[in-house]
């Protein structure tokens, strides 16, 4: 029983009548219309006959009466001929009652918000699709460029085995170097733009599936060792690192490999012959720091602030357009980490990135 005083109940009754324009329809237990009243015309209902099935006369009540359960609330019901209304069905001592209450205002307010929300959602979905289309286009363009490049490179390498003059050999070497640069650039473009589109992809924060930073580094070192040998730069893994420790980090293995590979290749490009690049991992409790130390000339101060931005370029523009470091940054930051570089006391530069360790989720029974 309500504990509201009669005066308050009377006021509420008056409020409902004034503001909600109620209309009611009463049917018996067989669904036959018995009685009706209120503002029925507002809801497009007219020409009613007692003694006929209610669903035949008020089409939106078809299937709802007689009530099977105690009651039913169907908000914001609209027909072409009437106002939006909240439909409430409930049992009475005489039968089942269908009550309509004007919901025009609520419908309008909700429609405005819902319309905006849905339109924004659709715009977002279209934008994601457009970005993906552009990525595919980019891939096609780059692969069409990469295809002939392989042929050119192959041709040069075959030519290198022929009997040619010293001058010719010099030109050949220029050609080979340029094809190598072009190839690296194409790969970087693919990486950088793929990362932007794939930024919505999930990554592994589960300790069982997370990648191991030390293992990734070790594998990348193995893969890049031939290139380092060709450039006469030493590449090594920190001999003091304990490989049996847990070096798992939040991330995704193939992209972690790419990040480490980009940083090591970057170090190689800035290392003079007979210098050494060292890769290390450090345990920082809840995080792991991966560091790539070179013995190169260092980063000029004017270049340092823009190093990890898209299209950043070293002073001498050593072949790269700066997409590799940009890819590293957006990847590491997407995984909740940080990236940076700092000059080394003994000369050269340390490029580093820090990633959180994966946390085991609590399992609640």
């Amino acid at each position: 029983m309500s504990n509201l005083p009669a005066a308050v109940l009377e006021y509420l009754n008056h409020l409902a009548s004034e503001q909600r324009s109620p209309a009611y329809f009463l049917s018996d237990r067989e669904g036959i219309l018995v009685e009706w009243g209120g503002a029925i015309e507002l809801y497009g209902v007219s020409n009613l006959q007692a003694g006929s099935p209610i669903g035949d006369q008020i089409f939106f009540l078809e299937g709802l009466l007689p009530l099977e359960d105690e009651g039913l609330t169907l908000p914001c019901l609209q027909t072409d001929s009437g106002r939006p209304a909240d439909l409430r069905l409930f049992k009475t001592s005489e039968g089942d009652c269908a009550l309509l209450l004007d919901a025009s205002e609520q419908e309008l307010q909700q429609r405005l918000m819902q319309q905006k929300g849905n339109e924004l959602n659709l715009s977002y979905q279209r934008l994601v699709k457009e970005i993906q289309k552009k990525e595919i286009l980019l891939h096609c363009i780059v692969h069409d460029l990469a295809g002939p490049l392989m042929g050119i490179r192959g041709g040069f390498e075959l030519l290198a085995g022929e009997n040619i003059s010293d001058k010719g050999r010099k030109f050949l070497e220029i050609g080979l170097r340029q094809t190598a640069k072009q190839d690296a650039l194409i790969r970087e473009i693919l990486q950088a733009f793929s990362a932007e589109v794939e930024s919505l992809e999930s990554f592994n924060a589960d300790p069982d599936k997370a990648p191991d930073a030390a293992r990734s580094a070790s594998e990348v070192i193995e893969a890049l060792s031939p290139a380092f040998a060709l450039n006469q730069v030493n590449l090594r893994f920190d001999p003091n690192l304990d490989p049996t420790k847990d070096w798992k980090v939040v991330g995704e293995k193939s992209r972690l490999d790419r990040v480490i590979s980009n940083l090591i290749e970057n170090a190689m490009r800035h290392s003079p012959a007979n210098s050494t690049v060292t890769v290390s991992c450090y345990d920082e409790g809840e995080k792991v720091l991966v560091a790539i130390d070179d013995e190169g000339p260092g980063i000029p101060p004017e270049v340092a602030p823009t190093l990890f931005q898209k299209l950043a370029q070293g002073k001498k523009g050593r072949g790269k357009v700066g997409l590799g470091l940009y890819f590293c940054r957006i990847t590491v930051e997407h995984w909740g980490g940080e990236i940076g570089q700092a000059p080394r006391e003994q000369g050269g530069t340390r490029f580093w990135f820090r990633l959180p360790r994966p946390q085991k989720q609590d399992v609640r029974s």
Binding site: E62, G63, L64, T73, Q78, Q110, N118, L122, Q125
Partner: protein
């Protein structure tokens, strides 16, 4: 005359209201206007010589903020499940809605409409996805509220399924 209540369910902006507008009034508009709550309309169809008055409940679409209200399906004899061929995620929404209908009302007759057949070049729902649905016993109809393709067929097939039950 027999009267039967049917409902249209699906993700938001898949074209439920457009399908009803095409079916009931032979009208179509490119303008997207969201449905709040439910719109109820009616049309008479003929199934094997029997006239059936279909009471069509066009429910507001499901999205991440608003679940389709199952109480609107009370008293329904069947339903049309609608997806948008250009949005692959709407097929998953359709599956979840069917599961909720089954949980609340049991196995009601239904037809699965993949709308926007006029935008075939932009479709993300491929033949394999369609075949998977058909493999599960679904009746799948590719339709377009814009051109009218498949619309009458979908409603007629549902009416037939309901009448035969």
């Amino acid at each position: 005359m027999i009267q039967k209540k049917i409902c249209l369910l699906g993700a938001f902006a898949v074209g439920k209201t457009s399908l009803v507008s095409r079916f009931v009034k032979s009208l179509y508009s490119d303008q997207y206007i969201t449905t709040v709550g439910v719109k109820v309309d009616k049309k008479t169809v003929n199934v094997n010589g029997q006239e059936i008055n279909l009471i069509v409940w066009d429910l507001a679409g499901e999205d991440e903020f608003q679940k389709a209200r199952m109480s609107y399906l009370s008293g329904a004899s069947g339903y049309l499940l609608v997806a948008d061929g250009t949005r692959i995620d709407t097929i998953e929404t359709a599956r979840m809605l069917r599961q909720r209908v089954n949980e609340n009302f049991g196995a009601l007759p239904f037809i699965f409409i993949i709308n926007k057949a006029d935008l075939a070049s932009e479709w993300e729902i491929d033949d394999q996805a369609v075949a998977e649905c058909e493999g599960q016993g679904w009746t799948v109809i590719k339709a377009s509220a814009k051109t009218g393709e498949g619309v009458e067929e979908a409603f007629a097939k549902l009416a037939e399924k309901i009448y035969r039950k």
